[in-house]
Amino acid sequence: MATIQAGESYGFFTDTSVCIGCKACEVACKEWNQLQGDSPSFLADSFDNTGTLDAQNWRHVKFIEHVPDQSATTGNGTAWLMMSDVCKHCKQASCMEVCPTGAIIRTEFNTVFIQQDVCNGCRNCIAACPYGVIGMNSQTGTAHKCTLCYDRLQGGLEPACAKACPTQSIQFGPLAELQKAADVRLAALHSQGVKQAQLYGRDDKVYGGLNAFFLLMDKPETYGLPNADNAGLPSRNDAGGYLAALVTGVLAVVAGLVAFRRRVTG
């Protein structure tokens, strides 16, 4: 890959059809970012014992079993879905929208980054992120998520997770190149008759486009991702919420004035 340059948009194309659920990405991320991980627990949920993205897990491989109970299947990434989930580095980032401190910024690589020294742990971003990406570290009192290996990019290195992924399910690069690669892959799958393959976040239908976008083998909801109809920014509720409050306020003031009105008799 060409050198990593400030001013260019970078991201991930995660092709779930070739993910083998090895979790190398999870571990590589923890190793590079010195995350301890959560205390071990058996979740009895397929091969997933990580559970969710949080402050200790910036990559999380989801396992969704749709294996038909029969001898032969076509496998092909459709029967046991695996998806390495991560911060989407949304073009229109819900987290960034609500953050009151300005801790969440867009970097020179067009990625979404939480400045640890600025964040004060209010957790508004957690309430906002539609992907359940962000978690709190109670030790630091700050919000954490994938940095898209900001430090590595600055040093000209590709992110640790992409580097570790053995099957190139996670591809890192300039967004435009990734989008091209994704289109080619989708076309190939469609021509092989894998019609359910679809790109998610490649276009601007969800959050103006995702810097970390995916090739999925089923509907987005199956993977726990909001579909295009269901992807809204938090600010969509500003107007409605304030309007209802305003109307209530006016009615309440009138009601108060009426209740407290000057008495007729002494």
Partner: protein, 299 residues
């Protein structure tokens, strides 16, 4: 407004007890301030004693708010001021995002804190001339209304199930905050017999607010049902029941006092009776319970 097919995959922000009490006190602070102002604007001089109680209530309730918020920040508590000042290297300045209720709220709390403090001081020292005072109260009340309501909007401006599926929360929190404030002031009249003349009116106001609140609860449930997340609210029905009990109490109490007035009897009640104590406590409990029900149903 965008209506979403309400399937959410957001993580809960773990806003729990500190935030619950913050929401409660913000409602009381803003609500009391507004009631104090309305008593002064609409009532007669005999209501001044009750108005002062209102401002006395608004002050400590306001002071507690930033403390609760700071405590909620946990290990980062000392960075509370980052809400107002952006310390991003190379991009320092004041933080203000009109589309982020938390950002606006932080400023509103600061400004309202000023109003609440001055008004409480003045209630004690009585130095500000009346007209100026009224004007000051009116402006302060605008912030009071904001403080009492924006917390509901803040919840809605998110991607959490329930919270972001309704637009009623801001209004609901305001109505309930006002109702709770009226109940609290009524309760406190116990220690201020000279204010008991306002008791009936406070109950009456509480009644109106409760009607508003009830209407908004209905709107809330309808919006939630339409979004298909009713199931997340149902486990918290007992809390809603407490809130509704508060509303019912207010209505009964208000009806009693309205009758009394209509009967032309001396509109003065000798002092706070047991019914006021019970109803007021129930209303306040309801204010807390309703907020708890809303906060918990998303997380």
């Amino acid at each position: 407004m965008v209506y979403l097919a309400a399937e959410h995959f957001a993580s809960p922000p773990q806003w729990t007890w500190y935030i619950l009490f913050y929401f409660f006190f913000a409602g009381i602070a803003g609500g009391s301030y507004v009631l104090g102002t309305l008593l002064r604007l609409s009532g007669d001089p005999r209501d001044e004693a009750a108005a002062r109680i209102a401002f006395y209530v608004a002050f400590p309730a306001t002071v507690i708010c930033p403390l609760l918020l700071t405590a909620d920040l946990g290990a980062s508590w000392w960075k509370f001021w980052h809400m107002l000042v952006d310390v991003t290297p190379g991009d320092t300045g004041l933080n203000f995002k009109y589309w982020s209720p938390m950002s606006v709220g932080a400023w509103a709390l600061l400004v309202f804190g000023f109003f609440a403090t001055v008004s409480a001081l003045d209630s004690w020292l009585r130095v500000v001339p009346m007209l100026l005072n009224r004007l000051f109260n009116i402006v302060g009340s605008v912030f009071g209304l904001f403080i009492a309501s924006y917390t509901g909007v803040l919840l809605s401006v998110s991607n959490q199930p329930v919270w972001s599926d309704t637009w009623a929360l801001g209004g609901l929190f305001l109505a309930s905050g006002l109702s709770g404030s009226a109940a609290l002031i009524a309760l406190l009249i116990r220690n201020r017999p000279e204010a008991s003349i306002s008791l009936g009116r406070l109950h009456q106001a509480d009644g109106y607010f409760s009607v508003l609140e009830l209407a908004l609860i209905i709107v809330f449930f309808i919006t939630i049902a339409v979004a298909g997340v009713l199931s997340r609210v149902l486990p918290w029905l007992p809390l809603w029941a407490i809130a509704v009990a508060g509303i019912a109490g207010s209505l009964v109490e208000a009806r009693g006092h309205t009758r009394m007035q209509a009967a032309g009897g001396s509109a003065t009640v000798a002092g706070v009776r047991l019914d006021t104590v019970v109803v007021s406590l129930l209303v306040l409990l309801g204010v807390l319970a309703m907020r708890a029900a809303v906060i918990f149903s998303a997380q």
